[in-house]
Symmetry: D2
Subunit: 415 residues, 4 copies
Amino acid sequence: MKNEYQKVTSYEAKNGEFKKCLLLYSGGLDTSVMLKWIQDNYHCEVVTLTINIGQTADDLEMIKNKALKLGAKEAIVYDAKKDFADQILSLAIKANADYQGGYALSTPLGRVIISQIAVQMAKQYDCQVIAHGCTGKGNDQVRFESYILTLDPTIKIIAPVREWSMGRDEEIQYAKENNISVKQKVDSPYSYDENMWGNTGEGGEIEDPKLIPPLENILQWCTLPENTPNESEIVEIEFNAGVPTAINGIKIDLASIIEYVNKIGSKHGVGIVPLIEDRIVGLKVRGIYENPGATILISAHKKLEQLVSTRDENEFKEIVDHKWAYLTYGAKWFEPVMSHLHAFINDHNKKVTGKVQVHLFKGMATVVALSSPYSLFNKDMATFDKNAAFNQNASAGFIEIYSLAQKTANQVFKY
Amino acid sequence: MKNEYQKVTSYEAKNGEFKKCLLLYSGGLDTSVMLKWIQDNYHCEVVTLTINIGQTADDLEMIKNKALKLGAKEAIVYDAKKDFADQILSLAIKANADYQGGYALSTPLGRVIISQIAVQMAKQYDCQVIAHGCTGKGNDQVRFESYILTLDPTIKIIAPVREWSMGRDEEIQYAKENNISVKQKVDSPYSYDENMWGNTGEGGEIEDPKLIPPLENILQWCTLPENTPNESEIVEIEFNAGVPTAINGIKIDLASIIEYVNKIGSKHGVGIVPLIEDRIVGLKVRGIYENPGATILISAHKKLEQLVSTRDENEFKEIVDHKWAYLTYGAKWFEPVMSHLHAFINDHNKKVTGKVQVHLFKGMATVVALSSPYSLFNKDMATFDKNAAFNQNASAGFIEIYSLAQKTANQVFKY
Amino acid sequence: MKNEYQKVTSYEAKNGEFKKCLLLYSGGLDTSVMLKWIQDNYHCEVVTLTINIGQTADDLEMIKNKALKLGAKEAIVYDAKKDFADQILSLAIKANADYQGGYALSTPLGRVIISQIAVQMAKQYDCQVIAHGCTGKGNDQVRFESYILTLDPTIKIIAPVREWSMGRDEEIQYAKENNISVKQKVDSPYSYDENMWGNTGEGGEIEDPKLIPPLENILQWCTLPENTPNESEIVEIEFNAGVPTAINGIKIDLASIIEYVNKIGSKHGVGIVPLIEDRIVGLKVRGIYENPGATILISAHKKLEQLVSTRDENEFKEIVDHKWAYLTYGAKWFEPVMSHLHAFINDHNKKVTGKVQVHLFKGMATVVALSSPYSLFNKDMATFDKNAAFNQNASAGFIEIYSLAQKTANQVFKY
Amino acid sequence: MKNEYQKVTSYEAKNGEFKKCLLLYSGGLDTSVMLKWIQDNYHCEVVTLTINIGQTADDLEMIKNKALKLGAKEAIVYDAKKDFADQILSLAIKANADYQGGYALSTPLGRVIISQIAVQMAKQYDCQVIAHGCTGKGNDQVRFESYILTLDPTIKIIAPVREWSMGRDEEIQYAKENNISVKQKVDSPYSYDENMWGNTGEGGEIEDPKLIPPLENILQWCTLPENTPNESEIVEIEFNAGVPTAINGIKIDLASIIEYVNKIGSKHGVGIVPLIEDRIVGLKVRGIYENPGATILISAHKKLEQLVSTRDENEFKEIVDHKWAYLTYGAKWFEPVMSHLHAFINDHNKKVTGKVQVHLFKGMATVVALSSPYSLFNKDMATFDKNAAFNQNASAGFIEIYSLAQKTANQVFKY
């Protein structure tokens, strides 16, 4: 069975050809079963890698011990919160990350840094193979495999869920036989993926667009707007060259800013987005996104960027951001065109500096005031003051020429 | 003074060269002063035209009488609500009208139908000239003059505010001398433009982005979210080929649907948008938009459209809608390229049919459930059922080829 | 071996599950071997389908007889020249078909109509399976399989070249054993694909961009510019709504026009394009395209379209055409977004009516004169005459406002 | 008369408010008359500025003497050839400069550097005013006034041709009265603008698209293809990071490379383009462009760029280049969005390194061979060798998923 499969994917690992495997390990049922299964089926050593990019639910020390108990040769725990914020999320903010209406791309962005660290750790721990826990229907297999092999084409991949023939019951049976704890939140039909940039809920009634999702059961981060404080709150974010540098006047690092706005945003129920999204593999599925902090920071950034940019800049930036979002979602972070988009985006953001006040209330984050040394509003008014006024006499001439082609075309052909 | 001006704008009316002028008349101070001023300065007859496109504040009978009292030869009142909805706003819904983040383009869309009717009435009442009340700093002069002269290049234009040398005080003096009522809402520093698609507030503290706008003083349509009902409400909108056809199961015409969602949306504080927008003439200014109904309908439409469209469709539609919004804002409704965009948009919308439930609460309009005979979600699932599953075995091959160029490029050059 | 493979592609035909197979049959070595091989390996009846879309090299009667001799149950020969021109190529002309610089997309467009007819014939001849002769490295497998299964998802596919384990020598051995004529042009390392829209040469030295391709050995349609007539020639093409309707004043159908411009274009060496193109599957390869007729018609169409279109139209049309070309090349002819692009393109082309003179000489096709009832040039001049002149006095005002944002931005931030 | 005009353009110079004017001086009739006219009408000193950006026809020493003879206070001659090539044309090459089909943007690019130097010289020579010789119907007034006032908003502009009331005859009369030589090429109805990037012919029969332009009378640089050598020639251009660095193996500076390819391109009649172009001011007009060198360099660059770029890069680069061309033509070189586009373009071009062979014959410049250390073709083949082959087994899985949405959509809705 396995052999057949390998025919198709020349880069997947073959039984016997490697000694050590790095497993992307979350501590949950699936990857715990995998940890055993790989040892059993590939007769190799397994090193587990658990990366902290701000998922709130995990107890990393416990995960490490669980891995070692299940036979891991080594159990690496890696804190990548700061790198994730500084290297990846700063770009997401500058690009006003938004896929198909309100999704700040938490999972696709997380997959980038996980892949980078996985490749680095595989080298360091002399693993020839990396194993991930994704199924064959989703986006994440595409991201992990594309990124890992882009960063190091000599690595082989194992995707046990695509490989093994176990159904849910067999998997639980296998877990019990191997003393793997099966205590799932029994009632929850939902599965989640979280990191500091957002939390994604999928499965169960969430998936079918026809059903109203029972948010009260689904949400893990955000308070339902119905239950949030009746008093609004204003948060002030300071940006320097497109990157948040201070919150309410206090300069802290980006990871801490994100942590803070997640907390305050969750409290006010900000950034809850039910989204029917187009997966890379051509399927459509609904998820419930909770992006409280991302929503606050991106709203603030986008309005500040608009304030310091011309109409021509604002028009084209949307094209660039739109392309960026589709590529980031689409497992193309290392596509060379992304490097060029980042050059564009970074150049544009050089002047996105200033302060933004965001009003939080019952699920909404509204930008209510902005200031910037590079504000084009300020400058316009300054010009007005000096020259007494915008030169209204120029308008008639402007309009005559601005509309010339439109007028001419309509005389020639009727639309 | 006037003569100088005419040098620049060959199409502006010259004193003495015409007998009858059609004045776009709102009944307010400015256009009432104009009604007198044109008679005085151009020694011509004036016909006033007041078009009802759903502005709520106006008493049309009173406006008519005021015009006649001030010397208008005729005072036309024209009800264009149904045409505005069916001919213009239906397209705005299909194009998910959004300029620079949350502005549904109420004023630019209103200018289209006003110009069309003005040209038609000018012909009917034998007016050689059309006068509008816009200043030389804004967008609306560009729209009126572009559209009117596109629709009929033989018409001449008068823009008294650009022409006369009166300041505010002189204007009020002139009004008093001519028995024109000057009772303005004295305390309000704001000016408004409204039609059934939205209400725009400008002026005073609204304009400066640095200041938090005092919404409690500014809003005319919407209840502040702080004061809206504590109970949420769900409204169901039915679409046929992209156009709303029923609300909560009741089939009514589009104008009535818009009226209804404006009412319910205002009640829940939906669609309040402070926006720093780029004017056509190169200025940046902040306005406060109230688009309760538009926000509800467009949110619903956009999600339904996404549900029935592929990833390729969804990606390109955003480019088309984006272009559409910039052109519509930019006084280019009759640009031939708009005709082609509309052909695209109408073809795309043939299948945007189904029902959408929108949850309204404290300023937010969230689409929570959708169904459509053309849903790509439904179909996907059906396919799953029949063939037992999405063919997960295809994934490895897909990923290998999908990521081939990315992988190759990174081996050749380091980014 | 075959069984393994079927695991991956659920829609490929399995041995024994069908009775009759439709083979896309060219009469060449590969598909002749297939004709035998399918009978041997799938124990089914084979119907061959040979479609004439203007390939010049084929003797269709001979191909039919060869098929029958090799055991085909039926040998269909289908003349699709007129349909190909009217239904597919007319759209290609309106879209100014050009992929990556000079390739008019002959093969991708041909695959569309072949797939349509194949599905229709499969139904008519009660075949449950369609077999094609493409390898696993190219674009055409992607096109055939995408299109056939889009048009009829119940059909199964066989791709013998991807399936069988024969190398070149074994294939020739197999051919000899089965009395299949092996008379190849022994010296030619090149393979060709041709239809009325162009001829593509691939293989051998053509593939490697570092080598200068020996055109004198490669070209099949076009005379080398070095050997073309020393006298230039002008051809006049008349368009109606974007479609060529007459040549040198003689009204004939589109297929005949294409035949004519291919002949005259080949004579003058027009449309020889060496192109390093990006395949769908992520590979880059060079081909030599001969598109004499396509080059003439598209050059003429594009210039005429520009003449009757505004700057805004011309700017956006390039975006639309560019997208169209990538989708057409990329096996996405039946992507719904193509339907919308066609709606745009057809609406735009309503006015692309007029006459174009194209000068042919030594490989070049240069548009030297154009006229149209909808020419925006003519109209502009007419306007000048009437109003004495373009209003130069409007220019200063235009420039002041047109450049306002650019000037303001540069005062605020230094680039 | 002048006073009226000043009302409209607040930034135009007013009589008496300045002492010294910098005149952009070509030495021709128009600017010579201006040199006198400004002295007469504004009673100020005039400094002439003649910039050499590679126009071949001018004798700069003679122009200088003529200026001094006509009363110029100073006559500056400035050699900007090297700066033009290195600072501006290098970017044009990287952006594959092409406006509306074959125009390499020589004039718009020249206007950038002329404006930059004019502003610098105005400061150095203490001129408060800059005068240019453009009419009110063209693009160049828009470019000069936008750029000069962007670079220094304190400068005033004079545009005598828009101001004075002289017709052609009066101008010649005025010239004679002031001892200004009137020896025009009497028979030529054409006017030209040239610099090292190309030569533009306008006027006379050129303008009307209906007429075949008599190239034999119009061309100034290029030999008619009918009269070029019967032997073809191959030129090899070497690029480093997108910029030409050597020609036929000899490393020289960019200005010299351009000079060389202009010479060899002209000899072979390359880059002659009749183009009906859309002017900024909404008019359409035909010009005859001669861009021999630009055509050779851009063809070579574009193919090399494609060779080292992925399909995703090549697809988006065309969007970027397209935007770049419209902005450059449209007097928006200093629009901030151009800075961001240049960041994109420069990042993309980091790897555009290699050698390109271009075949020149009878008007055509055809890229026939390319090599690059970053070639994606080379690498692909290398990969093939190592792994025995592209993994054809992956194709079926790829196609299944790649076409999934297309197939699904067509089952749900008929297009």
